[in-house]
């Protein structure tokens, strides 16, 4: 066997290896694209679900404020204009989408104890059959659902980024209040929550155009 023959074998081996490598490369690209498409669809669906739920919650919060005002008797407009401390900030914090989504989640969690307190206070003030109690229950449950959906959405778009827990630890609730203070407190909580939800809806619409689309080019450019 001479050197020419050896060189020919080597060339054949190299051709075969190149072909094989090309095939593997194509398969990998195709697989990545499929995964990316699937993830992108998942992102869109989850975002859509979050958006719908936030809108619904916002609408229900609007209805709840109307019901709340109607059930507080006279001076209902007045009590809703008083400001109260220790109520979560309606603004969404953070710069990156991950931070802002995490902020949404933490805010939703932060409102839950307040809803519980308002419910307890209003249970003493309202009849058991009052629609306000029902709606307070609903808004509380809806907030939990929305928090769960936001959490899910976050997990989808940032699978390797853990959702941070609330920075300030447990939510601070107001001290014991008189009836007027209770009424004012309840209204402020609900108004703040409504405002927060409005911000959430806006934020999610913004994220919709950023997050789900952005990940596709990232994945594609990787290859």
């Amino acid at each position: 066997m001479n050197g020419h023959v050896k060189s020919m074998y080597f060339q054949q081996f190299m051709q075969l290896a190149t072909t094989l490598l090309t095939v593997l490369l194509l398969m990998a690209v195709n697989s990545t694209r499929t995964v990316a498409a699937s993830r992108n669809q998942q992102c869109g669906n989850s975002l859509q679900q979050t958006l719908k739920l936030s809108r619904l919650t916002q609408k229900e919060s609007v209805d709840l404020i109307k019901t709340y005002k109607a059930s507080q008797g006279e001076m209902s407009e007045l009590i809703c204009k008083v400001s109260v401390n220790n109520v979560p900030d309606p603004n969404i914090s953070g710069l990156e989408p991950s931070e802002r989504i995490a902020s949404i989640y933490t805010h939703l969690q932060a409102f839950l104890p307040h809803f519980k307190r308002v419910y307890e206070q209003q249970t003493d003030l309202q009849l058991p059959t009052s629609p306000l109690l029902t709606e307070l229950t609903r808004i509380s449950a809806r907030s939990r659902s929305l928090a769960a959906v936001v959490n899910s959405f976050y997990q989808i778009i940032f699978p390797n980024l853990p959702l941070p827990e609330p920075a300030g630890g447990a939510t601070t609730l107001p001290p014991p209040q008189n009836i007027f203070q209770q009424k004012v407190y309840g209204c402020v909580v609900l108004k703040t929550y409504k405002e927060f939800l409005s911000n959430v809806s806006r934020e999610l619409r913004t994220i919709k155009s950023k997050v789900c689309r952005r990940r596709i080019p990232i994945n594609t450019s990787f290859f």
Binding site: L53, Q58, T137, R138, R142, S145, A148, N151
Partner: protein, 890 residues
């Protein structure tokens, strides 16, 4: 399986350990305890002997529901254990006992220690539930927090091993779990709030003591389980400028934030049950109005809407809204009016009555207010006297306005000569405008073009179907199918290619229709092909009424009956059946075109019941029954017999008369023998000792007859007055002479009893035996035994007081007859007088007063009392002895 056996053995060991502790321990133990068995499988139980060596497993036996299980099903494990294997086939709960034979007295005494049983519960393994569906209803503006799920339970279960179902529901994202267990096939789960936009995972687990099985999972977004209310405030708007469309508006039943909705719209013409659905593609999501197009003008439509979640195609539809009714605006008629002519016999000869009739156009598109008509003659002359159109208004009720069946209006009723044809043009007019012109020619009679061929009519599917072959004419434009019944006419048009069609009119069952098919040649009707048909036939409403034509004969009778009226016929008469019966029943079937029939071979003098049944293909109806009796004799037989008998009698009479005439001398000689002329006789030659008279018995030697008049009270009088003469009278009564005297007639010829006075006569006879025959009649006012009356001789009379023989009478029979009659009448009258009074006193008085009246005529001739003895001795002896004797039986 092995582990089960191990467990069973362990359980046995545990049980035996427990049982050995007690003093009153049981010596038999069965394992497994309280098993639940699956139907269709086999089960093995083990019986173990503990704490005794008195018995072995050979002494054991099994009992299932009080029945000993055959030994073939036993398996001996060892000396102290015995298995039994049974198949589980019966659903009922059963006891399985292990028992011991009484091999010793101690076993017999302690039976309770040598028995152990287990209860076998049987059941079926659960089967996977199918068709799981869940629904959450809308509640006010929200969705109910209760979700209701249903499923189909599959498979069987027993009451001992019931199957339970557990409904599981998981809200995926927050990870909330709910479940509800039930024995039914539905369950409800209540949330604190309906989890909108969350994914739900729902499934059902069927489980019992034999196992568990899970249904398919329903994993959907929660909104898909929502069944909303139907759309609210549905309004339908009719716009005059759009006569073929309707605009529908509604309000969504639930907030858009809760659920996006898609809608479905359907509509139907009023009173129609068939719905037209608007294609789903035309109703985009979350709309709240829709315009339905391509509708018919001036038509009432019912519209409905429903909705469902727009996201998923398999979500629940809401119920339909209530139907909203709206009429589309009017439009001018589209198409032509349906013009036709009904032709019948005219009032005058060579004339036809033509009724121009017209139906509204199929699409009248509004209220037809009238028809414009123009009738042109053969040469362009306008028949109705004007070149302009004539407006014929029509006035209709609401019912006529939109009838289910198109009715027609009679526009004109004209008399048209047979030899003339006219062309009719008609336009239908409504409030919006006029239709196109319809025209029709009524051709001359006999000049119609050729008809269709091979017309055939039959019933199928509740309709009357027609089939025909077209005439061989190329100018054919269409066909008109006309049907007539009870002077009701209707028609329909078919296009030129039609060969087979069904009558679309509302035909009645059991009514005869005359169906005609007219080919139309460019507006010229051709000759009709006609047939009669029924939509459906049944037995006639009544049978024919039968009667006899004339009188029945001895063996025949002619029956006639009338045809059943068309209204009562209810079908084509196929035949008539004649039923007639006397002792036996007979039937005769005659064709349908027969209305009379002569029954023959009947029995004479027999009553027959007849009735006639008329048959259609659907049945037979029998008419009223008529009865008649056949004659005993045929007509003329009696007359023949009477005439024959009369002729025979006449013949006999004539022959007798002839015989009398021709044999007069012989007859005379026989009946009236020659009596010697007394003038020529020599009395001196006559010997009184004529031996014949001397030998004649007393009774028979009567030469004269005395008639004794006996009254009703005779017997009484006899007893009272002359009992001594009883025997004598008895003899006389026995004779019971009702008449006497020569010639058979006398004054005493009456039903009254008369007695021949033979005893007195006997003496007389003796004395007059030698005299020539005289008739001597004794009339007595009393009776024989009576005490002699004051005028005893007055009652005695003789036919002739003369001793002269009857020569004169014999020679002059006419005179004798006159004499007899003159004798007869007064007697009868007197006798009648006497018997006519029932009262005895009156009669007695009459007899006393009118005694002469009784024998008034004879009285003068009667001899006096003094004369009697004079003539008695000279009474000639009768020469007619046989005659005397012959009177007796009278």
């Amino acid at each position: 399986m092995v582990s089960a056996r191990v467990l069973q053995l362990l359980w046995l060991a545990f049980l035996s350990a427990l049982l050995t502790r007690g003093e009153n321990e049981n010596h038999l133990v069965v394992a497994p305890q309280s098993p639940v068995l699956e139907m269709g499988t086999t089960f093995t139980a083990t019986c173990m002997i503990i704490n005794t060596a008195e018995i072995t497993s050979d002494d054991l036996y099994w009992n299932l529901s009080k029945t000993i299980i055959p030994r073939e099903q036993y398996t001996k494990v060892n000396r102290s254990a015995l298995n039994v294997t049974i198949s589980v086939s019966n659903e009922n709960c059963e006891w399985l006992f292990c028992l011991c034979k009484e091999v010793s007295a101690s076993i017999a005494l302690n039976k309770g220690r040598f028995i152990h049983g287990i209860l076998l519960k049987k059941g079926y393994r659960p089967v996977k539930p199918e068709n799981l569906t869940c629904v959450a209803l809308q509640e006010k503006i929200y969705i109910s927090s209760i979700i209701t799920c249903r499923w189909d339970s599959v498979g069987r279960q027993t009451k001992d091993v019931p199957t339970k179902y557990t409904l599981y529901l998981t809200v995926t994202l927050p990870g909330e779990h709910f479940n509800k267990t039930t024995t039914e096939n539905r369950a409800q789960i209540t949330f604190s709030m309906f989890p909108s936009f969350m994914e739900l995972d729902i499934w059902v687990v069927a489980h019992n003591q034999l196992g568990a099985v899970e249904s398919e999972h329903l994993k959907k977004e929660s909104d898909c389980f929502v069944k909303t209310n139907p759309p609210a405030d549905v309004r339908v708007i009719s716009e005059r400028s759009f006569p073929t469309s309707l605009l529908i508006n509604w309000t969504r039943p639930i907030d858009k934030g809760l659920m996006g909705l898609t809608y479905q719209i359907r509509f139907s013409k009023n009173a129609s049950q068939s719905w037209t659905y608007v294609p789903r593609g035309e109703t985009s999501n979350d709309i709240q109005s829709f315009r339905i197009q391509n509708l018919q003008p001036d038509t009432v439509y019912v519209t409905q809407v429903r909705c469902k979640n727009a996201k998923e195609s398999y979500c629940h539809w809401s119920d339909w809204t209530h139907g909203v009714t709206k009429r589309t605006p009017e439009d001018r008629p589209t198409g032509k009016p349906d013009l036709w002519a009904i032709i019948s016999q005219g009032d005058a000869m060579n004339e036809r009555r033509v009724q121009i009739v017209c139906k509204d156009p199929v699409f009248a598109n509004g209220w037809i207010i009238g028809f414009d008509i123009k009738i042109q003659g053969q040469k362009g002359k306008v028949m109705n006297g004007s070149l302009k159109w004539e407006r014929i208004p029509v006035n209709r009720s609401e019912e006529d306005y939109h009838p289910t069946q198109r009715k027609f209006d009679v526009l004109k009723d004209i008399q048209l000569p047979d030899r003339k044809s006219v062309k009719v043009e008609v336009i239908a007019v409504n409030s919006v405008g006029a239709s196109a012109t319809a025209s029709l020619v009524v051709p001359e009679k006999g000049h119609e073009r050729s008809p269709v061929e091979a017309l055939r009519i039959w019933t199928q599917g509740g309709q009357l179907w027609l089939e025909w072959k077209p005439p061989n004419k190329s100018a054919l434009s269409e066909y008109v199918v006309e049907w007539v019944s009870d002077n009701q006419v209707d028609w329909q048009r078919e296009n030129r290619s039609t060969r087979l069609t069904a009558i679309k009119g509302n035909l009645k069952r059991f009514v005869c229709y005359s169906v005609s098919v007219y080919p139309i040649y460019s507006g010229w009707p051709g000759k009709a092909a006609k047939m009669e048909a029924y939509l459906e036939q049944e037995a006639p409403l009544k049978g024919p009424d039968v009667r006899l034509n004339g009188k029945p004969g001895r063996t025949h009778a002619e029956l006639v009956w009338t045809e059943i009226s068309a209204r009562e016929r209810r079908g084509f008469i196929t035949n008539y059946t004649i039923f007639y019966s006397s002792d036996t029943k007979h039937t005769v079937v005659v064709p349908a075109n027969t209305t009379s029939y002569t029954l023959t071979s009947l029995s004479g003098n027999t009553k027959y019941d007849i009735c006639i049944g008329a048959s259609t293909i659907a049945g037979l109806t029998i008419g009223s029954t008529h009865s008649f009796t056949t004659l005993k004799y045929e007509d003329g037989v009696i007359e023949f017999i009477v005439v024959g008998a009369s002729l025979g009698f006449l013949f006999v009479v004539i022959m007798t008369l002839l015989l009398c005439v021709y044999k007069k001398d012989v007859i005379k000689r026989n009946f009236w023998p020659q009596i010697p002329n007394p003038g020529e006789s020599t009395i001196g030659n006559w010997s009184p000792d004529y031996p014949l008279k001397a030998e004649t018995p007393k009774e028979n030697s009567l030469s004269g007859i005395s008639v004794l008049n006996v009254d009703v009270c005779d017997a009484k009088c006899v007893f009272e007055e002359d009992k001594t003469s009883l025997s004598l009278k008895k003899d006389k009564y026995l004779s019971e002479e009702h008449s006497s005297g020569i010639g058979g007639s006398s004054c005493m010829s009456s039903p009254r009893q008369s007695v021949s006075d033979s005893d007195e006569g006997g003496d007389i006879a003796d004395t007059t035996a030698s005299t020539i025959q005289y008739s001597s009649v004794v009339a007595s006012s009393g009776y024989k035994g009576q005490t002699p009356s004051t005028q005893p001789q007055q009652a005695v009379f003789s036919r002739s007081e003369s001793t002269q023989p009857l020569l004169d009478c014999e020679e002059n029979p006419d005179m004798q007859e006159v004499s007899r009659q003159s004798q007869h009448f007064p007697t009868q009258s007197c006798f009648t007088h006497a018997t006519g009074n029932k009262d005895g006193n009156i009669r007695l008085e009459a007899e006393q007063q009118n005694e002469p009246l009784n024998f008034c005529l004879l009285d003068k001739r009667l001899p006096t009392e003094e004369q009697s003895p004079d003539w008695l001795p000279v009474t000639p002896a009768s020469s007619y002895m046989p005659q005397l004797g012959g009177y007796r039986p009278q």
